[in-house]
Symmetry: C2
Amino acid sequence: MNHLADLVDALPPGRVLTDPDVTGSYARDQTFLPPGKPLCAVTAESREDVIATLRWAAEHRVPVVPRGAGTGLAGGATAVDGCVTLSLTRMTAIRELSPADEIAVVEPGVITADLDRAARAHGLMYAPDPSSYEISTIGGNLATNAGGLRCVKYGVTRDSVLGLEVVLADGRVLATGRRTMKGVTGYDLTGLFVGSEGTLGVITEATLRLRRAPETPPATFAAEFPSLRSAGDAVAAIIAAGCRPSLLELMDRNTLKAIDDWKNIGLEPGVRAMLIGQSDDGRPGAAERMAELCEENGAGFVATSSSPEETEELIGIRRLAYSAKERLGACLVEDVCVPRSALPRMISEIEAAAERHGVLICTVAHAGDGNLHPVFVFDRDLPEPPPHVWAAADEVFRAALALGGTLTGEHGVGVLKRRWLELERAPVAGEMERGIKGVFDPLGIMNPGKAI
Amino acid sequence: MNHLADLVDALPPGRVLTDPDVTGSYARDQTFLPPGKPLCAVTAESREDVIATLRWAAEHRVPVVPRGAGTGLAGGATAVDGCVTLSLTRMTAIRELSPADEIAVVEPGVITADLDRAARAHGLMYAPDPSSYEISTIGGNLATNAGGLRCVKYGVTRDSVLGLEVVLADGRVLATGRRTMKGVTGYDLTGLFVGSEGTLGVITEATLRLRRAPETPPATFAAEFPSLRSAGDAVAAIIAAGCRPSLLELMDRNTLKAIDDWKNIGLEPGVRAMLIGQSDDGRPGAAERMAELCEENGAGFVATSSSPEETEELIGIRRLAYSAKERLGACLVEDVCVPRSALPRMISEIEAAAERHGVLICTVAHAGDGNLHPVFVFDRDLPEPPPHVWAAADEVFRAALALGGTLTGEHGVGVLKRRWLELERAPVAGEMERGIKGVFDPLGIMNPGKAI
């Protein structure tokens, strides 16, 4: 362990943690994957800490697993044996927030919702809002190219990133992108790092695009449907009518039932799906128009509201979804995405897989994007999903690909999806990706075994 | 020339052109750069033609310069000695247009405006609209990550690309991206190809995102300002007020004078700048609100209109800008981009450079993006810009970088900007980009000497 002493020497006091109880708490994310045993954890507080750690890791060929808040759902931050887990959560500075240029320059440990709140003080917003945004970090969002509820209107994390500062595997610093809204000098290295799950380097600063916050509170609707098909038709009608929802979420009956069992929302027997949507562009009647389209496509009960309190009540149902499922058992949260028109078929495929394998699957979808989160519920006492759950998940993944979709819309490949990766990605793409990996990380020390 | 016979044999009859008069017409774009002498031109009509050409080129180590319509302004399609110029303009099929999924799958030779028109037949639009969009191709737009007038609201070409089919330098076919709105499987190879100026492979198909077309004709305003500062303030005020313009163009006095000399638009002596803007989201009073903000920031004359005819009249002034300048002499069209708040300072820097070097510079800006096109006018009889024009351009580039900007917002680096590239890009970025180039094109035959 001589070389560990070198790392301690290279960093300010207290940065290197070696107590196994402590390093264990830095070893996993929100997945069930059994983590490896880290050599140590480093809690970086500056770019210089990251540089020193990577220089040392390169010298000693020690794998580095960068991590934010550990809210990932694909195992991207899972420790490997003998690694340094490099935590960026203490780098929380918002270095700049320019209302005139509508940009922010932030460190990777900034909590996503904190940046949004800081922006709102200037009439701006930070658009990406993964469900974990009150606890997730910008660095983690960048690593996975996180989506969220608002991305039906505002796009994913990539769409809000202008430039990055990255410490490469050998400790050198790379600046990518720019502060301007447009720019085409050189290859798009910024885009390459976003979603690369820490396999190419460690992001130590991001220049992010902010947007004008809506001037009025969003108008909201909720609608109950007698079938998934009719809910899917309503989604298509809402998009086709140019309603531009800022949120459009679908919940299946299993999800609604889990919520009802917990909070008694008065779920009627014939309700098979609920659609909740918002419009934030201030056009009068926007929520009512979407509600009408739901009725025209077979919705029974519909409700609309423009008051913040009632809106909170309607959206609150959606917010309860994950907690309600966690009451039922342990949850494997999945993340397929299909072309929007294939949404009802995808849900049917999920239901069929659930039935075939006797698995309870509760599905929530960012319906406007065709991005579904089927949640596979299993026995809480099991350390990881049992084989019949994986068998059902396998069928769901294959069905998504057969419908022209993808294995992961916003969570990433991590470790969890690597088994299925080659079903989606042609060999030549894998070869090119490994080639790129070799350019940035010739020693293969950056988050090995993840993403590609 | 034995190997040329092999190429002729490998392709259907008529694809290989060797008459120097003909190949010369495929040797340059809209820049002044003297092209090299191509070995031949290939007019590809299919993916198979591209594969055969690249296999042959790899075997014989012949450089390949892919090209669309040749409307580029940075020399990206300029022939090099002994190359094959590979024209994609005959691959014009729109293979699929799905209103339900809001995507189109197209060949690279489709004219940009043709795709937009095809989309509009379904109530959709293809948002990117470089000024050349009636003659430029999608493939060329992808190669340069083209911008345009609407990108202040809808983003650049990259923001409308979901997936690509690319023929690599060795003739293998690579599929990138997906048909879904979101997806994070593997590295972002799609983004890497967009803007790579043909240096990594040849795009033979693109899956593009369409958007709902506005339901009502855009509302338009035009405003005349007594100073550039006041026009810049108006731009800032319009953005800060959340007006979400779908177009926001600034013209300086030199540009307006060139138009007035030609078409007599009644330009008053005190007018130093004109701002023309549109809103396409159908909110009543949107153009009037922007016009008011112009008045509050010192505009003299302002006009607004929601009628298509009057709108055409106002926008028509902007459309005349390039033709008006071309009446004055030969034009070097530049493309710096700065943070939006630096727009007035950048224009001052351009004026100072013009004065110092005795060059006539007429500037048009996509003001909402901070993207300026200073047009350097010089003697039509000269084969290329004279030294004092380059000296002025050099100062303009350096000023843009000093203001936190970039050398090129939407035209690309090509050959033209390579001299200045290292002023913007740190050595480590260049090293990584050359590494990536080596992964995709180990023989270095793809558009050598361009972009990076």
